[in-house]
């Protein structure tokens, strides 16, 4: 019997699946082991975590971009099957991408660390999969660990999914134990695709990656019909058409093919250079035989968290712009526009899917493009209704109107926290302090609890996760999804130095938190800003009302006591360094502020949450 050929695989032998797992629960290791056992990668060519391409992913042990691999597998019935493993991103900010990856599959492997149990994120993705009516194969990983408690967590999983604990497979991705059984289970338990092979083609884009040599590589699941190598394709959301340059599958290197048929998973290359022309969730059809209705579920990426990014050295501004332009090619969710700040000079207001997305972009800018950046404290998007009923969208606190505000709306999230039950009290306290309201609470097992909260995104956009981790000794996990916007009692607090407002320090806060923010920020700046030749008052203000004040006393002594023969070189070097440092100072009015002060002052939102608990 010959294995199925790409472009003519029968749906009956196809199995499309994802792996749902939490960071560090071993998804990439399991994927590696599957590549090896199915023979697509030879053991000696095996690079740990083969599928995670980017360095940052490798270092952080998380997968940012999903990919799809075609694996041959001989089933228990002796038949040749084709398994398409669709890797999913593993973090809270990429829920939409996860949902599209899941939509491309008929089943999912729910992979849980046998020493840790299920985490909030995994649970959220599991609910997504269950809502899509997907077949779920529960699997406990890392059973080789001495700390593994497979019986306990099998019971927990069974309770959540509603299966029998004996249905939970047990594997060690590291040693390979149990993985062949899992591959058989995928064949046995996950339904074959059931598309219409003869009709107009409809393919779901579940990922889109920019490659410097090939341009955009679009990953698709063909739902109905067939795509052929020389078709002209049509993107249904935009109406744009492209010539196909190449069609193929990944196994695990790209393999060009004559086409892809209903049920198959593979990639398309059209030569476009921007992932925005090939959007995740969009439906691909052909120009010749165009489908009339797109597959459901498409959404435009929507930035939820904003931050100003400024180069430390103003002359790096063009480099920052070029770097953002480059990143954008591979990141459909990244938005930015130029802005300027009195304190920080020229930069960009950037919008992100969430905090991790922000952090990844910032890290890539510094690592891949060698840019030293100052980023302002992240804030969310506000919809402001003015007294004259005009509406204003605020993505930068310094643009928030002073007075004349009738109502303000802020984005809300539904957050899920899973934690050992001993921490319930302190989680409740934390969520309450962040204006959260408890929606519900369920015990997953005797010792573990799932808590659901509604929280303002603005309250978790800064250090919520850190605070949660420190209060729960690192055991709690968090997931959130955006729900709706809600009206709230919000105001803007400005920080003035020597009477001049410093735009980068303005913040939009709930009325009850303004005072604390003002006091904390003024106190922090007093510590961070070096003494100047004159006294510098620091004020926190709501409009024209001062709510907190501090003062930096004038410097009285700035001279090295000794300067003899052996001190001269050392002193000159020191002063030259100070002179260089002075050049890099930002000047607000007459006040010189070192960049370090900006970075430190912007590093957390308000300093009211004790940082001391962090290591």
């Amino acid at each position: 019997m010959t294995p199925p050929i790409v472009g003519s695989t029968e749906q009956a032998v196809l199995r499309n699946f994802s792996i749902i797992a939490h960071i560090d629960h071993g998804k990439s290791t399991l994927a590696d082991r599957m590549l090896q056992l199915t023979g697509v990668v030879e053991a000696r060519a095996m690079r740990a975590q083969y599928l995670d391409r980017m360095d940052i992913e490798r270092e952080r042990g998380i997968t940012i971009k999903s990919q799809a691999v075609r694996l041959p597998w001989v089933g228990r019935d002796g038949r040749d099957y084709v398994l398409n493993m669709i890797d999913t991103p593993g973090h809270v900010d990429f829920t939409y991408e996860v949902s599209r990856s899941l939509a491309a599959c008929e089943g999912a492997v729910l992979l849980v660390d046998a020493a840790q149990g299920i985490e909030a994120q995994t649970l959220a993705n599991l609910y997504l999969a269950l809502a899509n009516d997907m077949a779920i194969i529960p699997v406990l990983n890392k059973i080789d660990l001495p700390s593994a408690q497979p019986d306990k967590y099998a019971a927990e999983l069974a309770h959540i999914i509603g299966c029998d604990p004996s249905d939970v497979l047990r594997v060690s991705a590291k040693t390979g134990e149990g993985v062949p059984d899992l591959l058989h289970a995928i064949v046995d338990l996950i339904p074959a695709p059931a598309g219409k092979p003869e009709t107009e083609v409809r393919a779901l884009i579940f990922d889109s990656v920019y490659d410097i040599y090939r341009g955009v590589v679009t990953y698709v699941r063909v739902v109905d019909g067939a795509i052929h190598a020389r078709d002209r394709i049509l993107m249904m959301s935009t109406g744009e058409t492209h010539e196909l340059l190449e069609v193929g599958v990944i196994s695990p290197e790209p393999m060009p093919a004559a086409g892809l048929v209903a049920g198959e998973v593979g990639y398309l290359i059209t030569g476009v250079k921007d992932v925005r022309q090939s959007k995740v969730g969009d439906t691909v059809t052909t120009v010749n035989k165009a489908a009339t209705t797109a597959l459901g579920g498409y959404q435009e990426p929507k930035p939820m968290v904003f931050s100003g990014l400024y180069p430390m050295d103003g002359s790096d501004y063009p480099d920052l712009r070029d770097a953002l332009d480059r990143l954008k090619l591979n990141d459909a969710a990244l938005v930015y526009e130029p802005e300027s700040s009195v304190a920080l000079g020229f930069g960009f207001r950037c919008g992100f899917l969430g905090l991790l997305h922000l952090e990844i972009v910032r890290e890539r800018l510094s690592r891949e493009f060698n840019l030293d950046l100052i980023s302002t404290a992240p804030n969310v998007i506000y919809r402001v209704i003015l007294d004259d009923e005009k509406e204003m969208i605020v993505t930068n606190p310094s643009e928030y109107p002073n007075g004349k505000v009738r109502e303000v709306f802020e984005p809300m999230v539904k957050a899920t926290v899973i934690s050992p039950s001993e921490f319930i009290g302190s989680i409740m306290e934390l969520c309450q302090s962040r204006r959260g309201s408890l929606l519900g609470m369920d015990y997953l097992s005797e010792e573990r609890v799932e808590m659901r909260y509604e929280l303002p995104l603005g309250e978790i956009a800064f250090d919520f996760f850190d605070a949660l981790k420190s209060r729960t000794k690192g055991y709690a996990s968090l997931d959130y999804e955006f729900t709706e916007e809600k009206s709230a009692d919000l105001i803007k607090v400005d920080i003035l130095l020597h009477g001049d407002p410093v735009d980068a320090f303005s913040a939009i806060l709930h009325k009850d938190k303004a005072y604390n923010y003002g006091v904390a920020m003024a106190g922090k700046l007093k510590e961070l800003i070096p003494r100047q030749q004159f006294e510098v008052p620091i004020q926190a203000a709501i409009g024209s009302r001062i709510i907190a004040r501090e003062s930096i006393r004038a410097i009285r002594k700035d001279v090295l006591a000794k300067c003899y023969g052996g001190d001269i070189s050392r002193k000159r070097k020191l002063l030259e360094k100070q002179k260089e440092g002075k050049k890099r100072m930002k000047v607000v009015g007459r006040v010189e502020i070192p960049q370090e002060a900006f970075i430190a002052a912007l590093s957390t939102n308000n300093g009211t949450e004790g940082k001391g608990t962090k290591g």
């Binding site: 002594k557 001279v559 300067c563 003899y564 023969g565 070189s569 000159r572 030259e576 002075k582």
Partner: protein, 404 residues
């Protein structure tokens, strides 16, 4: 008990030539600039908690002996002669430490014998002295050897402050030593004082000044305590055992020093130095006027015509190089014209003579500095930048403003 090996940290610079050679242009400055000698005596009986000078207690000398010092210095002066030819007129010699008075007068006589022909008739020869280690005999010996200026490390007159500084001497020893020095013939006597030591009060400082200035001295230096990395005091401050010196308190103490100095007939001529009847340390003035000097001894710094170099710090290593006929230099800097200018401004700004306005590339900030009360407006009208009392406390700020 743990004996830690001192591993001295060297200043970063370029590699110095093995034979110590200097460029033609550097040598050309010798006949026209003032010239002095610095001799470093790297020995101490104990190291004080605040001190980061290049000093070694006897257990740290790795085989080098105090009695070898004069001989090795002689070798370095021979090297100096090979490098610069006949020594130019020597206007000043400064014997610093460490504790130079741990060495007998004969050691210095031996050193002077070989170079005396270059001494100017009014040569100033200073020795730093620990009040604990001198006797009438030794003082008389130093004086007879030709040393005509002595500087005692007094630091404070208050026992509790001396204890924080780890100083071993009894405060009374200072007045005795000064009296004895005057008795054996010294006419130029200076005291070193430190202010801003943790636990010191304004009253303690005033008391120290009053005691110092009532003695037969014509010069004193007052330094705010600096917590240098690598010292015991630094450790104590870091661990929170000792509160770090406070800048505002130090500023007040400086003002107290200035008013006591004036009340006793002393005038400032450099931010940390005051003299009576026109007395100054001429050797230090060579430093501040970017003059030439050869520094001999472990870790000593030298400057000739825009080249600065510094010796290896450990006495045993320094002596070994000299014994092999090599230069003991650890590194050097050949200053660029910009660096020379920066140093000239940096150094002259600290002195009462100040700086000629014409030396500044950009004199624009001067008006603002005068308006802020940091430089003397009358002197500015005459074309000189001279710090006011307030300006002396902010000398580095003034410098950064001028050198923007």
């Amino acid at each position: 008990m743990v004996f830690t090996q001192r591993v001295p940290k060297e200043l970063a610079g370029e590699v110095a030539p093995l034979n110590g050679a200097l460029s033609e242009s550097a040598l050309a400055s010798l006949p026209v600039a003032d010239f002095g000698l610095y001799l470093h005596v790297p020995f101490c009986n104990v190291r004080c908690g605040y001190c980061d000078f290049n000093t070694y207690t006897s257990t740290e000398l790795r085989g080098f002996r105090r009695e070898d010092w004069a001989n090795s210095i002689g070798l370095e002066l021979d090297l100096a002669k090979r490098v610069i030819g006949d020594l130019p007129d020597i206007q000043t010699i400064f014997i610093g430490g460490g504790t130079p008075t741990l060495l007998p007068p004969g050691d210095f006589e031996k050193v002077f014998d070989n170079i005396e022909s270059a001494f100017t008739s009014d040569i100033e020869i200073t020795i730093e002295a620990n009040p604990d280690t001198v006797t009438k005999e030794s003082l008389s010996g130093y004086y007879k050897a030709g040393i005509n200026r002595i500087s005692f490390g007094m630091q404070s007159a208050v026992p509790s402050v001396l204890k924080v500084l780890d100083r071993t001497h009894d405060p009374k020893a200072v007045s005795q030593a000064v009296e004895l020095a005057a008795e054996v013939g010294f006419k130029n006597i200076s005291l070193d004082l430190i202010y801003g030591t943790p636990t010191e009060t304004d009253n303690d400082w005033t008391e120290s000044l009053l005691q110092a200035l009532s003695l037969p001295i014509n010069h004193f230096s007052a330094y705010s305590l600096i917590v240098e990395p690598g010292t015991k005091l630094h450790q104590q401050v870091k661990s929170g055992q000792v509160a770090p010196p406070d800048d505002d308190i130090s500023a007040n103490r400086y003002l107290i020093a200035e008013s006591q100095a004036l009340a006793h007939g002393f005038n400032w001529y450099e931010v940390s130095n005051w003299g009576k009847g026109g007395a100054r340390c001429r050797h230090n003035e060579i430093y501040w006027q970017s003059g030439n000097w050869w520094g001999a001894g472990p870790g000593a710094h030298s400057h000739v015509g825009g080249i600065r170099w510094w010796n290896k710090k450990h006495p045993a290593v320094w002596a070994q190089d000299l014994a092999s006929g090599d230069s003991p230099a650890a590194g050097r800097e050949v200053l660029t014209p910009d660096q020379l200018m920066f140093e000239a401004v940096m150094l002259s700004l600290r002195t009462i003579g100040g700086l000629a306005v014409s030396r500044l590339e950009n004199p624009n900030p001067l008006l603002g500095l005068a308006k802020d009360g940091l430089i003397d407006p009358k002197k500015l009208d005459q074309g000189h930048v001279v710090l006011t009392l307030e300006g002396r406390l902010l000398a580095d700020l003034v410098l950064r403003t001028l050198m923007k």
